[in-house]
Amino acid sequence: MAVAQQATTPKRRELPRAFGWLGWLGSTLRIMRRNKIGFAGFLIVVAMTLISYIAPIFWPFDPTADPMSIYKTPSSAHWLGTDSQGRDVFSQILNGGAAILSVGYIAAAITTVIGVALGALAAYLGGAVDTVLTWLSDVFLTIPQFALLAVLAGFVHLNGIWGVALLIGFFGWPGLMRAIRSQVLSLKEREYVEAAKMLDMPTSYIIFREIAPGMAGYIATHFVLNVTAAMYASVGLIFLGIVPLSGVNWGVMLNLAWTQGAIFFQDSLWYILSPMIAIVLFQLAMLSMSRSISEIFDPRLRER
């Protein structure tokens, strides 16, 4: 009996695991397709992310200025026209997404981790910890966030994507922390949490294994919203010229178009509009995706 079991279990495990993951993906996509707007947003987000990270490998940006073709309207050679130095705008759009998206994703991940950890701690521990954390979040919510970020970016010399992402991510937590706090406050009264407490499980186990899964959809929605907020802040900071991000990205394009006075040229319309359209499209797609996310994480909608 024992020998037979040993022989069969590895085989059995091998296949169902892979299929189980595929099945999860399949049922997730099926749930997403119910919400048409949300699914369209999801597709746009995936497409733009893939293009932004893969396109630079195949179509790298050529930074040489061409004074003969300044502010050209779209043509077959330059699909979106050229900029103030005669460089191709379409290739800048392709190459300029990675930096902005990276800042958005990294900053949102940092914000989410801090916000969830502090919110869960405040609600779960209560007492003095809760009082202090709630007050701190109130204080940080009161300080105009973009002004604070701009000031700090001026004080601290930020290097590259990680510097900007760390700064933005570190100050985005108060809103999420409050939301998580109120969620945990209601969740921790549930029977299954009480049961885990009775079994004398460690606090970390209760927070991460019992309470957190119940908020997965909530956290994912906030992650998506935080990506858009981080993009708003990073592009704004780059536009003001406070964050010296070198290379090509949508924020630098906007900043250059602004400082070069491109808006006053008749033929530069596509140069100004393209980075804006890219940013707005991504933001709108993210927002509509956030609408269908809570459905994905709702276990009641899954068949198995």
């Binding site: 109130d138 004080f155 708003y232 704004g236 536009f239 003001l240 010229g241 808006i263 804006m276 993210m286």
Partner: protein, 356 residues
Amino acid sequence: MAIARKRTIAIPQFGVVPLMLRRATGHFLVRRLLRAFFTIFFVATCTFWLVHLMPGNPIEVYVNQQITQGIPAELARQQAASLFAIDLDAPLWQQYLTYLGDMARGDMGNSIIRQGSSVSSIIIQYLPWTLFSVGIGLLISFVLGVLLGILAAYRRETWVDHVLTNVLAAIQAIPNYLVAILLLVYLGVRWEVIDIAAMRGTLSPGVHASFSLSFLGDALYHASLPIFVYVLTSIGSWMLAMRASTETTLNEDYVNAGLARGLSQTRVAIGYVGRNAILPLFTQLMIAVGFAVGGSLLIEQIFSYQGIGSMLATAIGQRDYPLIQGILLTITTSVVVVNLIADLLYSRLDPRLRRR
């Protein structure tokens, strides 16, 4: 209730003074006042330590710059001391206390980029314009957003509701500085609907501050573009919040009770539904004000409107640390004050808070 009680700090149960303390900290407005005070204190403290403890801190950098320009070390230190309104020879904690005292008196040192003018005089010159434009913008968007929210909730699942919800949610997703640039590009340059050259600045040349209609008109004319952007980009959040809040309120028994007593629909909509549904929105005001004031850095730069936001952006660009410090503290204080006013209003509107 259990949650609310847990949050108050433990204070001894007996004795007259502890009892008074307990009653005071239990009071809504007292708690808010304490919090407001603490916020300002916190920002002041953080900026102080940031300026002083950072590697290569601005004061050192300034002194070294002056020395390399051939100014004697002693004189450079004196200049730095007067610029930052501190005594460089005193121990740090003493400098900190002096700094807090100076800030409390409104003395924030002198600006570096504008030789000879104090930080507080610059702030007094620029702050009113931002308060004016952001204030009017938020007021309009709040009123419009609340009205549209009630409308959408009353007409829910009709085309009015769908159009309003989707359009405003979409506009809200567009960063406000992009809206501002788009306005400039299309209204100002392409279609030439507005004269952006004449609209620059806060007032037309030759117009001076006075209590006259022409002054107010001119100020509004120059502020109209920033105001429009603030309204457009913040109206969505008010409308969506009001719609959700109204929907829950409509299910309350007192709404049916009011209608059953024969009150008109409008009367119920305003006095019963609206008045109760508006309460949760006050907690959002803090975020909205902070967002608009933070956004003013970008909006005012784009429209070349000389408010405190564009001044802060300039100060950051030029590394004028005393000015940066002063402006950050001032705008935080103004957001805090606006929130206190909102709290006062809130406690007037919500009788449950007054009784406690």
